[in-house]
């Protein structure tokens, strides 16, 4: 297997799924965000977002905090240290691959 192929295979498969990549990108740039903000930013439906958030939580990449704003329930999400490190690794790997593909296509 070539180095390029190995790099692609090495990309974190949990993050590589487009919806989860979008969620991770938004959370990486903010300290924490709530369900509504994530749904608005990523364009995902409520059901879809819940499913992907659960997968990321299962992987240990994010934490869920449930609280109340007065009487209204409020759920916020934040990346764990492990999640931040995984995203940074993924982002670096993806950027390198994109750069190489760009050069090859020129």
């Amino acid at each position: 297997m070539s180095q390029d192929a190995r790099d692609i295979v090495a990309l974190d498969k949990i993050i590589h799924e487009p919806a989860r990549l979008a969620i991770m990108s938004v959370l990486y740039a903010s300290e924490e965000a709530d369900f509504l903000f994530l749904a608005n930013s990523t364009g995902l439906t409520k059901g879809n977002l819940s499913t992907h958030v659960a997968k990321l939580e299962e992987a240990g990449y994010l934490t869920v905090t449930k609280s109340f704003n007065g009487k209204i329930p409020h759920t916020t999400y934040a990346l764990t240290r492990q999640g931040r490190a995984a995203f940074a690794r993924y982002h670096k790997g993806l950027s390198e691959i994109t750069k190489r593909v760009g050069k090859a296509l020129r």
Binding site: S25, V26, A29, S30, E31, L36, S41
Partner: protein, 203 residues
């Protein structure tokens, strides 16, 4: 658009959320206008007045942050969601930005002093500071309105520098211009936010 670009766009959107409703800019602009007026109204004040002024500015900043949170709690977050501004690495970015903009401002002032022999380029120095500061902010948050403000501040600074104004009046003119500019940016952002945000809270 490739995946990497989409990721960058999403991250920038999340970072810029803090400025999407314009409240931070309205507060900052209003404060700068007040500072400009104070510079103009209190010529040659003692250092004690300066210290009292700095304490008042600090208190107003803290009170305005509390007020912004309360407004967002009642109106913004129920409609467009809540995202907490990530300050990781931001303090380092702030320090680097302030140092870089100050160094650029001093360099421009020294260069003009050497070339023209004039020592009244304070307005231009302030404008260079504003330019470097807002270009750095724009690179991080992607708000084009700040680039427009910074570029126009440079033009105004040239005009102010060429006029036979005292240092106090030049500072007043520039601080007021930048303050009103930021205020206008904030009002523009607020209008855009009100037009695009849902009118009812989300379920």
């Amino acid at each position: 658009m490739d995946t990497a670009t989409n990721v960058e766009r999403l991250m920038r959107h999340a970072r810029a959320y803090e400025y999407s409703d314009g409240l931070q800019e309205i507060t900052m602009g209003f404060l700068l206008v007040l500072v400009g007026l104070a510079i103009y109204a209190l010529p040659g004040s003692s250092p004690a007045v300066g210290v009292i002024g700095a304490v008042i500015v600090g208190a107003v900043i803290m009170a305005s942050q509390w007020a912004i949170t309360q407004i967002r709690l009642r109106f913004t977050w129920q409609r467009t969601g809540y995202a907490k501004f990530d300050r990781t690495g931001y303090q380092r970015f702030q320090v680097a930005k302030v140092v870089l903009s100050f160094a650029a401002a001093v360099a421009v002032n020294v260069l003009l002093l050497v070339l023209t022999g004039r020592a009244t380029w304070h307005a231009l120095m302030l404008a260079v500071w504003v330019l470097v500061y807002f270009v750095a902010e724009w690179k991080r948050f992607g708000q084009t309105r700040w680039l427009v403000l910074a570029s126009s501040a440079m033009l105004v600074a040239f005009a102010v520098a060429l006029l036979p104004l005292t240092r106090q009046v030049a500072f007043f003119a520039m601080t007021s211009y930048v303050g009103l500019g930021i205020l206008a940016c904030g009002i523009y952002a607020l209008i855009r936010y009100l037009r695009t945000a849902p009118t009812e809270p989300a379920e």
